[in-house]
Symmetry: none
Subunit: 257 residues, 2 copies
């Protein structure tokens, strides 16, 4: 079926389709599809666009990554399916950033598949395909990381990450930057720098900011970030939109073809 660009939710449907395709190819697991749907609900509440507060968080994230000694971007199946191009842009703008495959439902085949998607998008070196170190206090397969990557990273960008793993990284003293549309999730509440935004928009913005920084843009090292305030901003946006929607008169129907 062809999707019409005039469909009012065209972008969301295109994203959904690319995720469904990635699922058919084995890159995305069924749990990843359901998780994406949950994110869509929050994106709806947030207006399906980057809020000014999220944009500030993304700029701070770029500065943190740019100032880091061993920054690492963690990539799971959904991130590879949706935002491989944005991850590649980040890696190009910040060549010392590691890019690491990091799967909740890990199999060697899926790890290779994520790496393949990243390489195809232009990432030169992909870590974590053969994970060789473990994060303490995490059960089973979810603890595996790359010794050269997340294991020794000082700043970790972890889009769409599991709460347990976010907590385990932070407990080791690593700085955690999350991308998660749910401001109430454990991942968002755990991160030093939570970005409450869609993963494609967020990584695209961070890539753009890194490109400006590496072209000599102004950098504030160690800029403080108020994580609690950022989450409160997201909740206020949602609250405002819900209350406004509850008051709003019924939308007029748009003309259709």
């Amino acid at each position: 079926m062809r999707l019409s660009p005039r469909h009012p939710r065209y972008e969301s449907l295109v994203v959904r389709r690319s995720l469904a395709d990635a699922h058919r190819s084995g890159l995305v697991v069924p749990e990843g599809l359901i998780a994406h749907g949950r994110g869509e609900a929050f994106d709806y509440f947030l207006g399906e666009r980057t809020t000014p507060s999220a944009r500030r968080a993304e700029r701070a994230a770029a500065e943190w990554l740019y100032s880091a000694r061993r920054p690492v971007v963690s990539v799971n199946g959904n991130v590879a399916a949706l935002a491989a191009a944005e991850v590649a842009r980040i890696a190009r703008a910040l060549p010392r950033a590691g890019v690491e495959v990091n799967l909740f439902h890990r199999t060697p085949a899926r790890a290779r598949q994520v790496a393949r998607a990243l390489r195809k998008a232009g990432v030169r070196e992909v870590l974590g395909v053969r994970a060789d170190a473990r994060i303490p206090r995490l059960p089973s397969d979810r603890a595996w990381v790359d010794r050269r990557g997340l294991y020794r990273a000082d700043v970790c960008l972890i889009p769409l990450e599991d709460g347990d793993r976010a907590q385990a990284l932070r407990a080791r003293g690593q700085k955690v930057i999350s991308v998660d549309l749910n401001p109430l999730s454990r991942t968002s509440r755990t991160a030093n720098l939570p970005i409450v935004d869609d993963v494609v928009r967020a990584l695209g913005h961070i890539a753009g900011d890194l490109e400006r920084l590496s072209a000599g843009g102004r950098l504030v090292r160690g800029r403080p970030f108020d994580a609690r305030a950022a989450l409160a901003d997201a909740l206020r946006t949602i609250d405002r939109r819900l209350i406004r929607a509850a008051r709003a008169p019924r939308r007029k129907r748009r003309p259709r073809s």
Copy 2:
């Protein structure tokens, strides 16, 4: 993995599993899993129970269906996977109601599969397997309906329906009853009678109400329904619960193995 009935989200996990099984059998498409995930998030904020406002909508829906001359219940893959038994109860309580297969991602094989699931649950006649009429102004496959069913229905119960199709039915002057957990969706905003509730709970309640009506229960014909007020109720419930969740103290970490 066996699910424990003592798990705080047991019901949600059971539903998720039955949907994943239906996905493996081909009944549910990947897009259906994404849509379900989105519904889960809304249901979470609605408290995973039928609100008093939704219950009133369900009673009104039963009265509208009972008073209709040609009522039709539309069934897609997710509805067949989750609520075939409830659809069968509705068909038993209201034998003149048509039950019609209505797929966004239509293939003849999937249409037959949905029909099979419905018959197995006890629905005698299933319309729409060979759709033979088209709803005007809808692109491609999504326009196909059954001439004896949705095409000429006066009241359409359309759980988990696409916004375009809901609008196209309403534009033809058909009365639309939606079941959709997202009070902001176009489907909910389009319906004459939007039910903001989980599909299993909603169809179960409607079936029970129809059983009472056909056993001689009191019926108010043409009871008016304030769709805007119903959506505002749902939005206010979500907002209240979200703000409460944000104020709650941070959850303690669960002990991990």
